[in-house]
Amino acid sequence: MSEAGSGGGAAPPDTAGRGVAVEARELTRRFGPHVALDALSLSIRPGETFGLLGANGAGKTTFIRLVTGFLLPSEGSVSVDGISPVSRPAAVHARLGFVMETSRLYPELRVVGFLRFMAGARRLSGRTRDAAVARVIERFHLESVKERLIGNLSKGYQQRVSLAQAFLHDPPLVIVDEPTGGLDPVQQGEVQDVLRELRGERTVLLCTHDLEEARKLTSRVAVLNAGRLVAEGPTQELLGRDDALSLFRTPTEQTP
């Protein structure tokens, strides 16, 4: 088994500002007899904000874990900028920023301490690290809370911190998993405003089960249902359909 994080090519790529492509070919992932992702083929173009939609358990998080190299595929392949996270995970990690669901942070760390740690973990050091931390603090409006413990922040601020760490190394691809889950409407709006600013700047893969959020933020979407790709196309076209909601229902939930 290859070493996750090894494989060379860890130097920050010069693709920021344009974005990179994400390609999946017949990507399958099984957990014992359960097929979490079934022969998924998908292309995300450089620079687009792409929405991966589906109900809970549809396979969205499994897809993200395969892209980041956290899981290995059972069959098929996935690549970021033409690079496989299986054979060259470090090169893929240098190209992506990953925003997890709210509260997957270190509550015992201060905001600035956490950002310094994440910058160090991205191999930024000295002045480069400090400049990167200062840049994301300013961009995500964290100045007033930078010395506070993450555990004492509101969920909205915690999600901003989560977003900020993903931009420390200025990656050409940002993967955002359920960014507004558990947030109140005001906090949701704040996080969506931040994500809206990213459009066209780099590739964004947004995983959500919130159709309204997908309408506001993405240009193209794919819908997963029970691990299979059931629809793919421009957001307005696909989610504007009268039967859009039926795409999310599992076969047993379909009305006769």
Binding site: A90, H93, R104, L109, A121
Partner: protein, 263 residues
Amino acid sequence: MTALLALIRKEFVSLFGSPTAYLTLTMVALVSALIFFDHLKLYNQILFVYSTPTMGGFSSDAIPDHINLWDRVFFPVMETLGLTLIGAVPLITMRVFAEERARGTDELIVSTSLTPTSIVAGKFAVTYLFVTLMMLVSFVYPATAIERGGIGLQHLAATFAGLTLHGIAIASIGLACSAFASSQLVAAVSGWAVAFVLWDFSWMYPFVSEGVAKFLDGISLHPRYGSFAEGIVSLEHLVYFAGLALVALAVSRFAFDLRRVGA
């Protein structure tokens, strides 16, 4: 190296940002003091009995050889301390990997430039440093006994090395258990169980063949720990502790691979 240093710094902040570290240090300091003074009190009572006129007064000839600071205080204290560490160290190691897994932050740090090997190495290094600090706290009283007993600095160093290596061995076991658990309680209980089983197999010797008994003796913690307390530092015992640490590192690293394949 930048990523590893960042992880080590973060681990220290996380460790001392929780009350567990302070509670464990306090507990070890208190328990080692209690154990020491309890044995010292008993030793003084025995000396008092032998010093009464009917037992020969204060004549040193009247005190049997086996009534000495070494046998009556130092050895029993080290023995009890060794067992106490089996109880205390897993309280520190339980959170190291299990907490990351339960929070889901393992997924976040694996998506950075930190490799699973560097994550495991960084966490082991910080835990070993903390265990060494714990040993310094618990060694104050045995060191006093050694100094007062006129045993010498070399023996003191050997005993401290034995105590530290024993603590590190338990930490290695605890860390390996934590790497496979999502629950800190499961990590702690499994760490205690494995360490207690490995502590001493001598009770099994009457029931097994000579070959099996020899093998069990070879993997027991107690004989190695005991020899350091006697001032004996042998290469064989150093290799044993290094081997145990390496196996624990490899097992913890394997836990990451196991998650990648989804087992």
